[in-house]
Symmetry: C2
Subunit: 245 residues, 2 copies
Protein backbone atom coordinates (compact mmCIF):
# COMPACT_ATOMS: atom_id res chain seq x y z
CA UNK A 1 0.00 0.00 0.00
CA UNK A 2 1.29 3.44 -0.85
CA UNK A 3 2.33 5.84 1.91
CA UNK A 4 0.55 9.17 2.41
CA UNK A 5 3.29 11.74 2.79
CA UNK A 6 2.95 15.26 4.21
CA UNK A 7 5.51 17.84 3.11
CA UNK A 8 6.17 21.13 4.89
CA UNK A 9 7.75 23.77 2.70
CA UNK A 10 8.55 27.43 2.37
CA UNK A 11 8.48 29.46 -0.84
CA UNK A 12 9.12 32.94 -2.16
CA UNK A 13 6.10 33.37 -4.45
CA UNK A 14 7.52 36.23 -6.55
CA UNK A 15 8.25 34.10 -9.60
CA UNK A 16 5.08 31.97 -9.48
CA UNK A 17 1.49 32.30 -10.58
CA UNK A 18 0.39 31.00 -7.20
CA UNK A 19 0.22 27.48 -5.83
CA UNK A 20 -2.37 26.03 -8.21
CA UNK A 21 -1.30 24.31 -11.43
CA UNK A 22 -1.95 26.51 -14.49
CA UNK A 23 -1.80 25.50 -18.12
CA UNK A 24 -0.09 28.71 -19.21
CA UNK A 25 2.12 29.76 -16.28
CA UNK A 26 4.54 28.26 -13.75
CA UNK A 27 3.06 27.36 -10.36
CA UNK A 28 4.58 26.07 -7.13
CA UNK A 29 2.41 22.94 -7.42
CA UNK A 30 3.94 22.17 -10.81
CA UNK A 31 7.50 22.57 -9.47
CA UNK A 32 6.79 20.30 -6.45
CA UNK A 33 5.04 17.72 -8.63
CA UNK A 34 7.95 17.60 -11.09
CA UNK A 35 10.46 17.25 -8.23
CA UNK A 36 8.42 14.50 -6.53
CA UNK A 37 8.03 12.58 -9.81
CA UNK A 38 11.79 12.79 -10.36
CA UNK A 39 12.52 11.51 -6.84
CA UNK A 40 9.82 8.82 -6.62
CA UNK A 41 9.89 7.75 -10.31
CA UNK A 42 6.10 7.42 -10.43
CA UNK A 43 3.13 9.68 -11.30
CA UNK A 44 2.37 11.89 -8.30
CA UNK A 45 -0.73 13.95 -7.52
CA UNK A 46 -0.04 16.68 -4.96
CA UNK A 47 -2.78 18.17 -2.72
CA UNK A 48 -1.99 21.62 -1.31
CA UNK A 49 -3.34 23.10 1.94
CA UNK A 50 -4.60 26.19 0.11
CA UNK A 51 -4.48 28.06 -3.14
CA UNK A 52 -2.19 31.04 -2.86
CA UNK A 53 -2.33 33.86 -5.40
CA UNK A 54 0.43 34.94 -7.78
CA UNK A 55 3.19 36.71 -5.84
CA UNK A 56 1.97 35.51 -2.42
CA UNK A 57 4.60 33.84 -0.20
CA UNK A 58 4.58 30.98 2.30
CA UNK A 59 6.75 30.67 5.38
CA UNK A 60 4.90 27.42 5.97
CA UNK A 61 2.91 25.55 3.35
CA UNK A 62 1.75 21.93 3.56
CA UNK A 63 0.90 19.44 0.84
CA UNK A 64 0.43 15.68 0.69
CA UNK A 65 0.67 12.91 -1.87
CA UNK A 66 0.59 9.14 -2.07
CA UNK A 67 3.70 7.32 -3.28
CA UNK A 68 4.77 3.69 -3.49
CA UNK A 69 8.55 4.01 -3.52
CA UNK A 70 10.00 3.47 -0.02
CA UNK A 71 12.33 6.39 0.67
CA UNK A 72 13.09 7.07 4.37
CA UNK A 73 11.15 10.20 5.36
CA UNK A 74 14.24 11.99 6.71
CA UNK A 75 15.88 11.68 3.27
CA UNK A 76 12.93 13.11 1.35
CA UNK A 77 13.45 16.88 1.94
CA UNK A 78 17.04 16.91 0.63
CA UNK A 79 16.08 14.63 -2.28
CA UNK A 80 13.27 16.99 -3.35
CA UNK A 81 15.35 20.14 -2.77
CA UNK A 82 17.95 18.80 -5.19
CA UNK A 83 15.30 19.09 -7.94
CA UNK A 84 13.66 22.31 -6.74
CA UNK A 85 14.65 25.90 -7.61
CA UNK A 86 16.09 27.92 -4.72
CA UNK A 87 12.89 29.90 -4.13
CA UNK A 88 11.15 26.71 -2.89
CA UNK A 89 12.53 24.69 0.04
CA UNK A 90 11.08 21.52 1.59
CA UNK A 91 12.08 21.23 5.22
CA UNK A 92 10.07 18.31 6.56
CA UNK A 93 8.41 15.10 5.36
CA UNK A 94 6.21 12.89 7.53
CA UNK A 95 4.02 9.85 6.95
CA UNK A 96 0.33 10.42 7.73
CA UNK A 97 -2.81 8.25 7.91
CA UNK A 98 -4.32 7.20 4.56
CA UNK A 99 -7.26 9.60 4.89
CA UNK A 100 -5.13 12.65 5.70
CA UNK A 101 -5.60 15.51 3.19
CA UNK A 102 -3.50 18.71 3.33
CA UNK A 103 -6.57 20.84 2.63
CA UNK A 104 -9.50 19.04 4.24
CA UNK A 105 -7.65 17.92 7.39
CA UNK A 106 -6.45 21.47 8.13
CA UNK A 107 -8.10 22.95 11.26
CA UNK A 108 -6.55 26.42 11.30
CA UNK A 109 -4.27 28.65 9.22
CA UNK A 110 -2.44 31.84 10.06
CA UNK A 111 -1.64 34.49 7.46
CA UNK A 112 0.61 37.50 8.01
CA UNK A 113 0.32 40.61 5.83
CA UNK A 114 3.49 42.69 5.91
CA UNK A 115 3.58 46.42 5.19
CA UNK A 116 6.84 48.37 4.96
CA UNK A 117 5.71 51.71 6.41
CA UNK A 118 8.54 54.06 5.46
CA UNK A 119 8.97 57.20 3.41
CA UNK A 120 11.44 55.48 1.05
CA UNK A 121 11.38 51.90 -0.30
CA UNK A 122 13.58 49.30 1.39
CA UNK A 123 15.53 47.35 -1.31
CA UNK A 124 15.58 44.27 0.95
CA UNK A 125 11.77 44.15 1.05
CA UNK A 126 11.19 44.53 -2.69
CA UNK A 127 8.51 41.91 -3.62
CA UNK A 128 8.44 40.85 0.07
CA UNK A 129 6.20 43.55 1.59
CA UNK A 130 3.68 46.18 0.50
CA UNK A 131 5.38 49.58 0.53
CA UNK A 132 3.03 52.14 2.12
CA UNK A 133 4.53 55.54 2.85
CA UNK A 134 1.85 57.31 4.93
CA UNK A 135 2.28 56.76 8.70
CA UNK A 136 -0.13 54.10 10.00
CA UNK A 137 -1.75 54.36 13.46
CA UNK A 138 -1.28 50.75 14.45
CA UNK A 139 -3.40 50.81 17.62
CA UNK A 140 -6.38 52.22 15.71
CA UNK A 141 -6.00 49.55 13.02
CA UNK A 142 -5.77 46.82 15.65
CA UNK A 143 -8.96 48.07 17.32
CA UNK A 144 -10.77 48.29 13.97
CA UNK A 145 -9.65 44.75 13.05
CA UNK A 146 -11.41 43.27 16.10
CA UNK A 147 -14.73 43.64 14.23
CA UNK A 148 -13.60 40.77 11.98
CA UNK A 149 -13.00 38.35 14.89
CA UNK A 150 -15.70 35.73 15.38
CA UNK A 151 -17.97 33.70 13.11
CA UNK A 152 -19.34 35.68 10.17
CA UNK A 153 -20.46 35.29 6.57
CA UNK A 154 -17.43 36.85 4.84
CA UNK A 155 -19.06 37.24 1.37
CA UNK A 156 -18.08 40.93 1.36
CA UNK A 157 -14.44 39.82 1.64
CA UNK A 158 -14.42 37.27 -1.18
CA UNK A 159 -13.38 38.16 -4.72
CA UNK A 160 -15.64 37.09 -7.55
CA UNK A 161 -14.43 33.98 -9.30
CA UNK A 162 -14.67 31.86 -6.18
CA UNK A 163 -16.69 28.66 -6.53
CA UNK A 164 -17.08 28.24 -2.76
CA UNK A 165 -20.76 28.19 -1.74
CA UNK A 166 -20.50 28.38 2.04
CA UNK A 167 -18.86 31.64 3.05
CA UNK A 168 -19.11 31.45 6.84
CA UNK A 169 -15.68 31.39 8.51
CA UNK A 170 -14.45 31.86 12.08
CA UNK A 171 -11.56 34.26 12.70
CA UNK A 172 -9.97 33.41 16.05
CA UNK A 173 -7.38 36.20 16.11
CA UNK A 174 -6.61 39.40 14.21
CA UNK A 175 -3.75 41.53 15.50
CA UNK A 176 -2.03 44.57 13.99
CA UNK A 177 1.41 45.34 15.43
CA UNK A 178 4.45 47.42 14.54
CA UNK A 179 7.99 46.04 14.49
CA UNK A 180 10.20 49.00 13.56
CA UNK A 181 9.42 49.93 9.94
CA UNK A 182 7.14 46.91 9.49
CA UNK A 183 3.41 46.82 10.22
CA UNK A 184 2.19 43.22 10.56
CA UNK A 185 -1.43 42.07 10.21
CA UNK A 186 -1.73 38.57 11.70
CA UNK A 187 -4.99 36.66 11.07
CA UNK A 188 -5.93 33.15 12.16
CA UNK A 189 -9.06 31.35 10.98
CA UNK A 190 -10.50 27.91 10.34
CA UNK A 191 -10.47 28.78 6.65
CA UNK A 192 -10.18 31.70 4.25
CA UNK A 193 -12.12 32.75 1.16
CA UNK A 194 -10.52 33.87 -2.12
CA UNK A 195 -8.52 37.08 -1.41
CA UNK A 196 -10.13 37.35 2.05
CA UNK A 197 -6.99 38.51 3.92
CA UNK A 198 -6.04 40.97 1.20
CA UNK A 199 -9.55 42.52 1.13
CA UNK A 200 -9.67 42.77 4.96
CA UNK A 201 -6.24 44.47 4.98
CA UNK A 202 -7.28 46.73 2.08
CA UNK A 203 -10.44 47.71 3.97
CA UNK A 204 -8.37 48.54 7.07
CA UNK A 205 -6.08 50.71 4.90
CA UNK A 206 -9.21 52.46 3.60
CA UNK A 207 -10.13 53.09 7.26
CA UNK A 208 -6.62 54.53 7.80
CA UNK A 209 -7.25 56.82 4.80
CA UNK A 210 -10.68 57.78 6.22
CA UNK A 211 -12.58 56.38 3.23
CA UNK A 212 -14.47 54.30 5.83
CA UNK A 213 -14.83 54.57 9.59
CA UNK A 214 -13.87 51.65 11.84
CA UNK A 215 -17.51 51.53 13.02
CA UNK A 216 -18.59 50.77 9.40
CA UNK A 217 -16.88 47.34 9.38
CA UNK A 218 -19.77 45.40 10.99
CA UNK A 219 -22.10 46.88 8.35
CA UNK A 220 -19.67 45.94 5.57
CA UNK A 221 -19.71 42.36 6.89
CA UNK A 222 -23.52 42.18 7.06
CA UNK A 223 -23.84 43.65 3.54
CA UNK A 224 -22.48 40.31 2.15
CA UNK A 225 -21.43 42.23 -0.94
CA UNK A 226 -17.88 42.57 -2.24
CA UNK A 227 -18.71 46.10 -3.45
CA UNK A 228 -19.27 47.21 0.16
CA UNK A 229 -15.67 46.45 1.23
CA UNK A 230 -12.40 48.22 0.42
CA UNK A 231 -9.57 47.56 -1.99
CA UNK A 232 -7.70 44.27 -2.36
CA UNK A 233 -4.22 44.88 -0.90
CA UNK A 234 -1.44 43.78 -3.28
CA UNK A 235 -0.12 40.19 -3.12
CA UNK A 236 3.56 40.74 -2.29
CA UNK A 237 2.81 41.56 1.37
CA UNK A 238 0.96 38.30 2.05
CA UNK A 239 2.51 35.24 3.72
CA UNK A 240 0.86 31.97 4.66
CA UNK A 241 2.61 31.70 8.02
CA UNK A 242 1.32 28.61 9.86
CA UNK A 243 -0.84 25.60 9.05
CA UNK A 244 -2.41 23.53 11.84
CA UNK A 245 -3.66 19.91 11.69
CA UNK B 1 29.97 77.85 -4.67
CA UNK B 2 28.82 74.28 -5.11
CA UNK B 3 27.30 72.43 -2.17
CA UNK B 4 28.94 69.28 -0.78
CA UNK B 5 26.11 66.76 -0.39
CA UNK B 6 26.18 63.58 1.68
CA UNK B 7 23.77 60.80 0.66
CA UNK B 8 22.78 57.88 2.88
CA UNK B 9 21.54 54.86 0.97
CA UNK B 10 20.75 51.18 1.19
CA UNK B 11 21.32 48.61 -1.53
CA UNK B 12 20.86 44.94 -2.29
CA UNK B 13 24.21 44.15 -3.92
CA UNK B 14 23.11 40.92 -5.67
CA UNK B 15 22.92 42.46 -9.14
CA UNK B 16 26.07 44.60 -8.89
CA UNK B 17 29.79 44.13 -9.29
CA UNK B 18 30.34 46.05 -6.08
CA UNK B 19 30.31 49.77 -5.37
CA UNK B 20 33.29 50.78 -7.51
CA UNK B 21 32.79 51.88 -11.12
CA UNK B 22 33.91 49.17 -13.58
CA UNK B 23 34.38 49.49 -17.31
CA UNK B 24 32.81 46.11 -18.06
CA UNK B 25 30.13 45.58 -15.38
CA UNK B 26 27.36 47.48 -13.61
CA UNK B 27 28.27 49.01 -10.24
CA UNK B 28 26.25 50.85 -7.61
CA UNK B 29 28.49 53.91 -8.09
CA UNK B 30 27.55 54.00 -11.77
CA UNK B 31 23.82 53.83 -10.99
CA UNK B 32 24.06 56.61 -8.37
CA UNK B 33 26.19 58.78 -10.67
CA UNK B 34 23.73 58.40 -13.54
CA UNK B 35 20.79 59.23 -11.27
CA UNK B 36 22.56 62.27 -9.77
CA UNK B 37 23.52 63.57 -13.23
CA UNK B 38 19.90 63.19 -14.36
CA UNK B 39 18.61 65.10 -11.31
CA UNK B 40 21.29 67.83 -11.14
CA UNK B 41 21.85 68.20 -14.92
CA UNK B 42 25.61 68.57 -14.47
CA UNK B 43 28.64 66.23 -14.40
CA UNK B 44 28.86 64.60 -10.96
CA UNK B 45 31.75 62.77 -9.31
CA UNK B 46 30.61 60.54 -6.45
CA UNK B 47 32.91 59.52 -3.57
CA UNK B 48 31.84 56.38 -1.69
CA UNK B 49 32.62 55.55 1.95
CA UNK B 50 34.12 52.20 0.96
CA UNK B 51 34.51 49.74 -1.87
CA UNK B 52 32.15 46.86 -1.43
CA UNK B 53 32.66 43.62 -3.37
CA UNK B 54 30.31 42.06 -5.93
CA UNK B 55 27.25 40.64 -4.17
CA UNK B 56 27.90 42.47 -0.88
CA UNK B 57 24.97 44.48 0.54
CA UNK B 58 24.63 47.74 2.43
CA UNK B 59 21.98 48.57 5.00
CA UNK B 60 23.77 51.92 5.27
CA UNK B 61 26.19 53.30 2.74
CA UNK B 62 27.35 56.91 2.46
CA UNK B 63 28.67 58.88 -0.48
CA UNK B 64 29.23 62.55 -1.22
CA UNK B 65 29.46 64.80 -4.24
CA UNK B 66 29.62 68.49 -5.13
CA UNK B 67 26.78 70.01 -7.15
CA UNK B 68 25.83 73.52 -8.20
CA UNK B 69 22.11 73.14 -8.79
CA UNK B 70 20.10 74.28 -5.73
CA UNK B 71 17.65 71.51 -4.92
CA UNK B 72 16.26 71.49 -1.34
CA UNK B 73 17.97 68.62 0.52
CA UNK B 74 14.67 67.07 1.63
CA UNK B 75 13.63 66.73 -2.03
CA UNK B 76 16.84 65.01 -3.14
CA UNK B 77 16.16 61.39 -1.97
CA UNK B 78 12.84 61.08 -3.83
CA UNK B 79 14.31 62.80 -6.90
CA UNK B 80 17.22 60.33 -7.04
CA UNK B 81 15.03 57.31 -6.24
CA UNK B 82 12.88 58.15 -9.27
CA UNK B 83 15.94 57.40 -11.44
CA UNK B 84 17.31 54.46 -9.41
CA UNK B 85 16.42 50.79 -9.77
CA UNK B 86 14.50 49.29 -6.84
CA UNK B 87 17.53 47.52 -5.36
CA UNK B 88 19.08 50.90 -4.46
CA UNK B 89 17.27 53.39 -2.24
CA UNK B 90 18.48 56.81 -1.06
CA UNK B 91 16.90 57.75 2.23
CA UNK B 92 18.72 60.88 3.34
CA UNK B 93 20.60 63.85 1.86
CA UNK B 94 22.45 66.46 3.94
CA UNK B 95 24.73 69.37 3.20
CA UNK B 96 28.24 69.01 4.66
CA UNK B 97 31.33 71.24 4.95
CA UNK B 98 33.41 71.68 1.77
CA UNK B 99 36.22 69.42 3.02
CA UNK B 100 33.92 66.52 4.00
CA UNK B 101 34.77 63.27 2.15
CA UNK B 102 32.63 60.12 2.54
CA UNK B 103 35.73 57.92 2.76
CA UNK B 104 38.38 60.05 4.48
CA UNK B 105 36.05 61.68 7.01
CA UNK B 106 34.70 58.33 8.19
CA UNK B 107 35.78 57.48 11.77
CA UNK B 108 34.18 54.05 12.17
CA UNK B 109 32.24 51.44 10.18
CA UNK B 110 30.24 48.42 11.28
CA UNK B 111 29.85 45.34 9.10
CA UNK B 112 27.49 42.43 9.81
CA UNK B 113 28.10 39.00 8.32
CA UNK B 114 24.91 36.91 8.24
CA UNK B 115 24.90 33.10 8.21
CA UNK B 116 21.70 31.09 7.81
CA UNK B 117 22.51 28.09 10.01
CA UNK B 118 19.84 25.57 9.06
CA UNK B 119 19.71 22.13 7.57
CA UNK B 120 17.70 23.34 4.55
CA UNK B 121 18.04 26.60 2.60
CA UNK B 122 15.61 29.44 3.40
CA UNK B 123 14.18 30.83 0.12
CA UNK B 124 13.81 34.26 1.73
CA UNK B 125 17.55 34.46 2.45
CA UNK B 126 18.73 33.41 -1.01
CA UNK B 127 21.56 35.86 -1.96
CA UNK B 128 21.04 37.57 1.43
CA UNK B 129 22.96 35.24 3.76
CA UNK B 130 25.57 32.49 3.62
CA UNK B 131 23.85 29.12 3.98
CA UNK B 132 25.86 26.93 6.39
CA UNK B 133 24.20 23.70 7.47
CA UNK B 134 26.48 22.37 10.25
CA UNK B 135 25.44 23.60 13.72
CA UNK B 136 27.64 26.48 14.92
CA UNK B 137 28.67 26.89 18.58
CA UNK B 138 28.10 30.62 18.79
CA UNK B 139 29.66 31.16 22.23
CA UNK B 140 32.91 29.50 21.13
CA UNK B 141 33.00 31.62 17.96
CA UNK B 142 32.39 34.77 19.98
CA UNK B 143 35.23 33.91 22.36
CA UNK B 144 37.58 33.11 19.45
CA UNK B 145 36.67 36.40 17.73
CA UNK B 146 37.92 38.44 20.70
CA UNK B 147 41.51 37.77 19.52
CA UNK B 148 40.79 40.17 16.62
CA UNK B 149 39.77 43.06 18.90
CA UNK B 150 42.39 45.78 19.34
CA UNK B 151 45.04 47.41 17.14
CA UNK B 152 46.85 44.94 14.88
CA UNK B 153 48.55 44.70 11.52
CA UNK B 154 45.83 42.78 9.62
CA UNK B 155 48.00 41.80 6.61
CA UNK B 156 46.97 38.14 7.11
CA UNK B 157 43.36 39.23 6.56
CA UNK B 158 43.85 41.23 3.36
CA UNK B 159 43.39 39.68 -0.08
CA UNK B 160 46.12 40.26 -2.64
CA UNK B 161 45.26 42.98 -5.10
CA UNK B 162 45.01 45.64 -2.41
CA UNK B 163 47.11 48.74 -3.01
CA UNK B 164 46.87 49.86 0.63
CA UNK B 165 50.34 50.16 2.23
CA UNK B 166 49.44 50.63 5.88
CA UNK B 167 47.61 47.59 7.18
CA UNK B 168 47.23 48.48 10.85
CA UNK B 169 43.58 48.79 11.89
CA UNK B 170 41.75 48.96 15.23
CA UNK B 171 38.78 46.67 15.78
CA UNK B 172 36.67 48.10 18.60
CA UNK B 173 34.06 45.34 18.76
CA UNK B 174 33.56 41.83 17.36
CA UNK B 175 30.50 39.91 18.53
CA UNK B 176 29.01 36.62 17.34
CA UNK B 177 25.36 36.08 18.30
CA UNK B 178 22.49 33.83 17.32
CA UNK B 179 19.02 35.10 16.42
CA UNK B 180 16.95 31.99 15.69
CA UNK B 181 18.30 30.43 12.49
CA UNK B 182 20.67 33.36 11.89
CA UNK B 183 24.22 33.64 13.19
CA UNK B 184 25.43 37.26 13.07
CA UNK B 185 29.07 38.37 13.12
CA UNK B 186 29.17 42.11 13.97
CA UNK B 187 32.52 43.90 13.55
CA UNK B 188 33.32 47.57 14.12
CA UNK B 189 36.64 49.17 13.18
CA UNK B 190 38.22 52.47 12.17
CA UNK B 191 38.79 50.94 8.74
CA UNK B 192 38.86 47.62 6.91
CA UNK B 193 41.27 46.06 4.41
CA UNK B 194 40.23 44.32 1.18
CA UNK B 195 38.07 41.27 2.12
CA UNK B 196 39.08 41.66 5.79
CA UNK B 197 35.66 40.82 7.30
CA UNK B 198 35.14 37.88 4.93
CA UNK B 199 38.59 36.41 5.76
CA UNK B 200 38.07 36.85 9.52
CA UNK B 201 34.64 35.14 9.29
CA UNK B 202 36.12 32.41 7.06
CA UNK B 203 38.92 31.84 9.61
CA UNK B 204 36.34 31.55 12.42
CA UNK B 205 34.41 29.00 10.33
CA UNK B 206 37.69 27.08 9.90
CA UNK B 207 37.98 27.15 13.71
CA UNK B 208 34.41 25.78 13.93
CA UNK B 209 35.49 22.98 11.55
CA UNK B 210 38.62 22.35 13.67
CA UNK B 211 41.02 23.22 10.84
CA UNK B 212 42.47 25.77 13.30
CA UNK B 213 42.21 26.20 17.04
CA UNK B 214 40.93 29.44 18.53
CA UNK B 215 44.33 29.85 20.25
CA UNK B 216 45.99 29.95 16.78
CA UNK B 217 44.37 33.28 15.85
CA UNK B 218 46.98 35.54 17.55
CA UNK B 219 49.70 33.64 15.64
CA UNK B 220 47.78 34.02 12.37
CA UNK B 221 47.65 37.77 12.99
CA UNK B 222 51.39 38.05 13.76
CA UNK B 223 52.26 35.96 10.67
CA UNK B 224 51.19 38.97 8.49
CA UNK B 225 50.66 36.50 5.67
CA UNK B 226 47.34 35.88 3.88
CA UNK B 227 48.32 32.20 3.48
CA UNK B 228 48.25 31.76 7.28
CA UNK B 229 44.55 32.67 7.59
CA UNK B 230 41.43 30.72 6.58
CA UNK B 231 39.05 30.89 3.64
CA UNK B 232 37.30 34.03 2.37
CA UNK B 233 33.62 33.63 3.33
CA UNK B 234 31.29 34.25 0.35
CA UNK B 235 30.02 37.77 -0.37
CA UNK B 236 26.25 37.32 -0.07
CA UNK B 237 26.37 37.19 3.75
CA UNK B 238 28.12 40.56 4.12
CA UNK B 239 26.37 43.84 4.92
CA UNK B 240 27.88 47.26 5.50
CA UNK B 241 25.60 48.12 8.42
CA UNK B 242 26.63 51.51 9.87
CA UNK B 243 28.94 54.35 8.90
CA UNK B 244 30.05 56.91 11.48
CA UNK B 245 31.37 60.48 10.88
Amino acid sequence: MSRNLLLTLRFDGTAYHGWQWQSNAISVQQRITEAAQSVFCEPIKIHGCSRTDAGVHARMFCCNFHADKEIPVDKIPAALNAYLPRDISVYQAEERAQDFHARYSCIKKEYVYCICNTKYRDPFLENRAYFYRYPLAVHDLHDAAQAFVGTHDFSSFCSSGSSVEQKIRTISEFSVTRNGELVLFRVSADGFLYNMVRIMVGTLLDVAEKKFFARDIPNIITAKNREAAGITAPPQGLYLNKVFY
